[in-house]
Symmetry: D2
Subunit: 387 residues, 4 copies
């Protein structure tokens, strides 16, 4: 399974083509849109999230509600595009048009792709960079992940996420997957310990008031994963490496870890490895410090992925930058106004992980149609139980 995404933030639409899905998967645009709505929620988002409700339209690869095995196209129209027809039009324009009419941007924002993107692609109008480097693209990745979640659901694999910390307010609780799942969408900061929700909101409000922004930490859990996804035989087949790439490639994500993560630097080996047990249900682990991955492979325990999102760089409290035309210093411009996107980012992270799990499942249990996939996974689970 592979996919390409396309689309600028204020262009006509986002487009995704997913190639390699099995036939016979029940799939509707509405089911995908549900996940997009979740991405748009969360305390601390700016105006745009409220005015636009992303909706997915399927234009290929699905007939009468089921996938055909051919590439699936997903389209998310940008409702806002109608206000940007001149600025972001596809058609040639009179090059003598005033830069202001084209809303040319020459002031790169620290923390964004603006400056380097301009250097790389030789764009002197940095809008040509930021329209694509924008986190708008994560809507496309959620759409892909939503398809993957629907597929995984058919295989009894569940995936959910939570916010562990926002701007220093941290949920230190240790929860079972069931507890996390139960609180999946219980509040608008996506924290399990609800007594912390208001503190998080307050922190976000304070940051907003100060013209500042906040990052945080999120966690994704995948339940009931078949053991043996990924492989130790070659470094680039290790599943944890692939998940890490997928997560770090989300806008503003700067770190990823598995299971006990960076705490393992301080722990003795005897407290880190997960002892193996066996009963009529097969093998199991007495703990899950390693987050469900050993030797680059799933071991049947829940996959636990932690990730850190930096505060979003767009700020009312501006930072020093340099105008690329005048070379003069200035205080960086503001394009939009979210002060904290961590709850939304937890949704994106969940979907980025979902893609890698689904891809690994389709590699390991290659099937051209869903019934075959289900059979293969069931047979595998039974075989592993009896190993």
């Amino acid at each position: 399974m592979r996919f390409l995404t396309a689309g600028e933030s204020h262009g006509p639409q986002l487009t995704v083509i997913i190639e390699g899905l099995p036939a016979g998967l029940e799939l509707t645009g509405d089911a995908i849109s549900l996940e997009l709505y979740k991405r748009q929620g969360g305390y601390g988002r700016g105006r745009r999230m409220q005015i636009e409700k992303d909706t997915v339209e399927i234009t290929s690869g699905v007939r009468h509600g089921y996938t055909l095995g051919s590439p699936v196209t997903l389209i998310v129209r940008n409702d806002d595009h109608k206000h940007w027809l001149n600025i972001m039009g596809v058609e040639p324009i009179d090059q003598s048009a005033h830069d202001e009419m084209r809303r040319v941007i020459t002031k790169p924002r620290p923390g964004h792709a603006d400056l380097v993107g301009g250097m790389k692609y030789n764009h002197r109008d940095l809008r040509n960079v930021l329209e694509r480097s924008s986190a708008r693209e994560t809507a496309a990745r959620v759409a892909v992940g939503a398809v993957c979640k629907i597929l995984l659901q058919q295989l009894d694999v569940e995936i959910f996420s939570r916010v562990k910390a926002i701007g220093g307010v941290r949920d230190e609780g240790v929860y079972s997957p069931a507890e996390i799942k139960a609180k999946n969408h219980a509040n608008d900061v996506r924290v399990v310990d609800e007594s912390l929700a208001q503190a998080m909101r307050d922190r976000i409000d304070a940051a907003k008031k100060a013209g500042d922004s906040l990052g945080g930490e999120v966690e994704v859990t995948v339940m009931n994963v078949p053991p043996g996804l990924g492989s130790y035989v070659h470094y680039d087949r290790k599943l944890d490496g692939r998940i890490a790439q997928s997560v770090i490639s989300i806008n503003a994500f700067k770190g990823v870890s598995f299971g006990d993560g960076f705490k393992m630097a301080d722990m003795p080996g005897s407290e880190v490895q997960d002892p193996i047990a066996h009963d009529e249900e097969g093998y199991s682990r007495l703990s899950n410090h390693l987050g469900g991955l050993e030797g680059g492979m799933t071991n049947g325990m829940p996959i636990v992925v932690n990730a850190v999102m930096k505060p979003i760089p767009t700020l009312y409290k501006p930072l020093q930058s340099v105008d690329i035309e005048t070379k003069e210093s200035y205080l960086a411009s503001i394009e939009r106004s979210d002060s904290c996107a961590v709850p939304a980012a937890s949704i994106v992270c969940e979907h980025a992980v979902a893609f890698e799990i689904a891809k690994a499942v389709l590699e390991e249990f290659q099937s051209n149609y869903m019934e075959q996939l289900r059979e293969q996974i069931n047979a595998h689970r039974e075989r592993v139980r009896q190993f």
Copy 2:
């Protein structure tokens, strides 16, 4: 640039083929071997590191000391193989040979690939798994990275690493790249604050005495990287994502982050983004919280990669496991005796990063021979200065 590695831990040799190197790179086996020696050093390693000194032999792609542009083969012979001729022989054997003679392993070690690897490939002799899942493979990756470091050196890109923490002893110092580089190989625990070196060694000794093992945290720095490696235009072209995959695919690595990493969960945005300045040398940043990467691209600041290594799972202090034949619980077997491999792992991490940087350089400045590569990078640096 791409590579494949091959070889079992006690087989005749490790083999690497690297495809895509430019012609005209000065390269000798000895220069690569130097990096392999570094991997074998470090306080806390077991017996094997002392008896074997890895040496690289080049058998293709190099003529009279220079690369040809054709695939380069690197071979690292396992001196130890002569003692394993029966156990690890390639040729067919009499299948009725006693399992003991073949040293069949039926007791999977927690924290290793043993159990899941056995399930996946249907190996009931788990030696068939652990011979490949062994960290021995990291020697091959260091060999690849060494070639990349030699190439990067020609482009004035420098790469080095340090140990930040071992088993809870943590170097909290904040150092300039120059300071880190100066202490690169100053002590056998690879710590910059040398006053901590003995505490680290003591911790390792104590763990060893207790039959336990220790993990730690390492950091890799890459200096003088051309801006614009990687790209924001598609998620799988982001360089930080690729580095993350490469690092997490090192044995026992469970987390990776960039710049201030997980600390950013607690920081306000105004303290995280790196302000942009400009002078006759071109653009620069007034800080490096983001670790040299914005929008999935290098921004010209040092790349700073942090990673956590879990304590190695092999233990004298055994953990509960299950014999896959008898299904009886037992305390996990011991194959070797390192108690801490963090200093060595910092070397491996450095080389895993070196590969991704070199690969990105060759993608961005595609060149068939070194002189062209140097010219292209110089032209790019000048162009970026004048942007």
Copy 3:
């Protein structure tokens, strides 16, 4: 550069995403549409070609008439879809709907993907196969190739095609590239020797009357290609191999060759290799038997690709097949009515080749924007001249 195509023959639209184009390429939907019109022409096409005029809409990656460096989305709407809303709808339907209403197909046509596609994806309604396996997909590939041709044009690389034979009427002439180019669209069977045009049309008419269909042979020429695209160092980097894959993956194409092609089986070596000459313009060849490729690399001479298209399998003169439900033999059904698609196929082939050339150019002269690409190629041409 990479792309994905999507879309069913009677679905709402074809969609293409192209990733990896440089920024700064002048590009409009109209310029791409021009090539699509050519595909729709040609003597011998059926009704659909006349009722539908394919038009390309760009929905990403282009702003104000120039590429941005981000993925480019191309959409070709199927005007016909409005008549197929029930049959090819994306939304779920009442599964009890009569098969007839869904126009279920249970009769696989010999020569099509129908039967094997049904087996593979477990489709018992073979419409689920043929909607995607249809040659309609070649419109998407022409769209991709059109973008590549526009890019190549900027580099003074020209590409054109001709029909060499249709249903046994063969143009045996030996022509210079200039002669071929001059007759590029001179007649509706795309033959250089215009005296043969009527014979070809007559042959097509006769076949149509007989309820039969005709194949033919086409040739693609690429002029002014920089030497050194592709590489001999690894088998999968040879450009001729890649072109061959691209051509054979066009619907109904069953053979591909370069230069003198299969005739070389009968020729002595002394008449096949192209002697090398040199003057102030640099190196040249005194002949072009090898079709511009030596050692898997372009040598600067025109690339000459020949390919054979089988007669399209859809026939009024039906063939024996088997109903997959009743298992009874029958005479194969008819979905449409082209009797000869060779002129159109020559256009598709030209575009399939254009993609591989452009991809190889972008690999060899990696550039993020057009100006840089032009400079690099010019520098290369000069360097090669002086070699």
Copy 4:
């Protein structure tokens, strides 16, 4: 499954790493060497083929005669290397050494990679090109293909080849696969119609005497292939395209076709498509004009691949070329002396095809060990029978 090959013609060894083989495949170096011997046979080969007998050594991925699932390394030592230690040594040499001692080559041979390879990689000693572009590399590809053939044999898939034409002597017979297989190694020109063998040898002798060389046409047949390998859903998944790439990337191969190939340009559709029949054994075809592939997928009929090899460019009868140092014209130099390599090339082609078939099988029936692979293919065959 993927592989890399490495090694220069007169370097110490050829090396291959194959990644992605299932565990549990019985494999020995001797079994692979058997196929290499076949490559070395054939009437018309020069001296080197007689002095060197290629032997494969396995150095990873196999234990006690069975694959482990980890990467397999194959080594073929160049016995001749001992005579080339100075000329082709890996170690640096005194650059002031006389060019003659290094046997510097400045005269590019027409029809070889010499000139363009030199331009591309900036080699002024063309030996740096020809050592890798040499057909010596095909030994590595035969080694890979031999492993694939051994794997396919376990799945009852058979693959063999024949010579159809050499230098104008053509076997016009139409043979069943069984007849071809029966004559597989019946004579040293690999022709089915043995009455033509002497004519072919005579033609080779005459060419040799005239200082000339001969090409020819070969055919590969694959029997008992499971239907449904490859896919129509995306152009780059079509199996015939992949086979075409693989074949064309063999040194000196200039054309490839399937089934009736280029003859289809002259045939009416009613004689080209293969009618479908059905009985208790499932579906079958009443003919095999399409060579076993429809819609880019195997249809269960024998795969028939035709390919043309140009006469090898090395000639006693020299061709005009240009010395790259003096820029003076000269008559091209001679490096070796085969006059016809078509019989050997038929073996190489067979192995190039075997790799693509095995790769497609492992993609379609992904399995980590042989027993699972056999079960999956058997289940598929039964399912397809009942479709």
